[in-house]
Symmetry: C2
Subunit: 241 residues, 2 copies
């Protein structure tokens, strides 16, 4: 099946967690809003959000069209794709656990975004800079260590080992943790240096994922959008203690 | 099966979305942290969070123990319970859609919480009151109307009708929308009065859910914790325009 991914074309954002899964597994997909053909581009995405895609409109990008199904929310998309792409076992207990971890990634991503937008997404960063500074202190001092410490604990507790999060094989959760580490290093280099010793397992996982042939090829391609100051992970030195 | 729910005992919070599903369906469950027996109470909950429950610790409450499975995240719990409690069909397309809606509820709940805690959960409200006032203006003016408008649109688009969100029968999403409306009316009475005409479908759904025998009995019981100023929905008049 050819999957259709719909997401904002200029940023990695939440869509990137889906892109990584599609790329790792070599799935047949199109990144609709980045194309310029008929029925493509951002306009095609907005038509879905306006409810023209049927009775079940998504609330926001990303969403995935898989045949007649339109699936919204990053974690929901990965939950659906996981077994189909060989990125999680079909066993219910494993799927429930993978999804649980992915929803923790979702919460972490929302907090990362709100560091630079603590008041409103509709305002620019410079309009909420003083509030962002205050929130950043708590984020880098409390929340970031708590989330990374949790994932580090999960990695360490996986007795099947081999450095992956779930069992012995790579899952979509590992791909998402790679993206988290890469993004946090871009946005908060100083904070991440201070966390290096406490996050050794996650840093090793990051490198292991980056070295996988399909991921390495993707990261070197034009399909990988560079981190930038419009995305979730933004580098404002004043927020990086 | 006797389900074990673990959540903070003094608030409705995120646990309430799970309680409503268990109560509506008459499921056999215990609310572990609210009990005082051996192996019960908050201490029992904290032991799980400390990783003593096994290799797969939840990040935060609520979590549900179902046999040997420990399931974290409200939406994940409801996704698991839904078909088992008769609160969503087993058809994949329906389950995916219900979960997608529930994840939008999750995002909305996080934004509702952050209105009174825009800087850090570890600070008191009075320590971030000026930032909260600023965020509240955007929340009541932009975000609340956007989320409620979306759910109203979803209700209206459900051609199977009867006032429920999905098909012809009550689902756990309807129970969650009931809770959202009840909570928002407690926290933002003025804003919700202004929204009344635009949210007629949701208000009717709220009343329909409240009148269901099991829900009515639950709401009148001691098991229903009252809204209070420690939960997600808090009534601070200065945040209610």
């Amino acid at each position: 099946m050819r999957y259709e991914l719909y997401y904002w074309p200029g940023i990695q954002g939440r869509g990137e967690f889906v892109r990584l899964a599609l790329e790792e597994s070599g799935a047949d997909y199109v990144d609709v809003a980045r194309l310029r053909g008929r029925g493509q581009g951002v306009a095609a995405m907005l038509r879905f959000l306006d409810g023209e895609g049927g009775e079940r409109p998504p609330f926001a990008p990303p969403f995935l069209k898989a045949g007649r199904l339109v699936i919204g929310h990053t974690a929901n998309i990965l939950h659906y794709l996981g077994p189909r792409l060989g990125l999680v076992s079909n066993a219910e207990a494993t799927r429930v656990w993978a999804h649980q971890l992915q929803l923790t990634v979702t919460d972490f991503v929302a907090e990362i975004h709100d560091v630079h937008h603590p008041i409103a997404s509709s305002l620019y960063y410079h309009q909420q800079k003083s509030e962002a500074r205050r929130r950043a202190k708590h984020f880098t001092g409390e929340r970031l260590p708590k989330f990374l410490g949790y994932f580090e604990q999960v990695l360490a507790a996986n007795s099947a080992g081999r450095g992956y999060t779930i069992g012995r094989a790579l899952s979509y959760v590992d791909l998402s943790l790679f993206q988290l580490i890469a993004g946090l290093r871009y946005a908060f280099p100083n904070t991440m240096k201070r966390q290096a010793r406490r996050t050794a397992g996650l840093l090793a996982l990051h490198d292991k994922v980056a070295a996988r042939p399909n991921i390495a090829a993707y990261l070197a391609s034009e399909r990988r959008i560079a981190f930038n100051q419009d995305g979730i992970f933004r580098h404002y030195p004043e927020l990086d203690g």
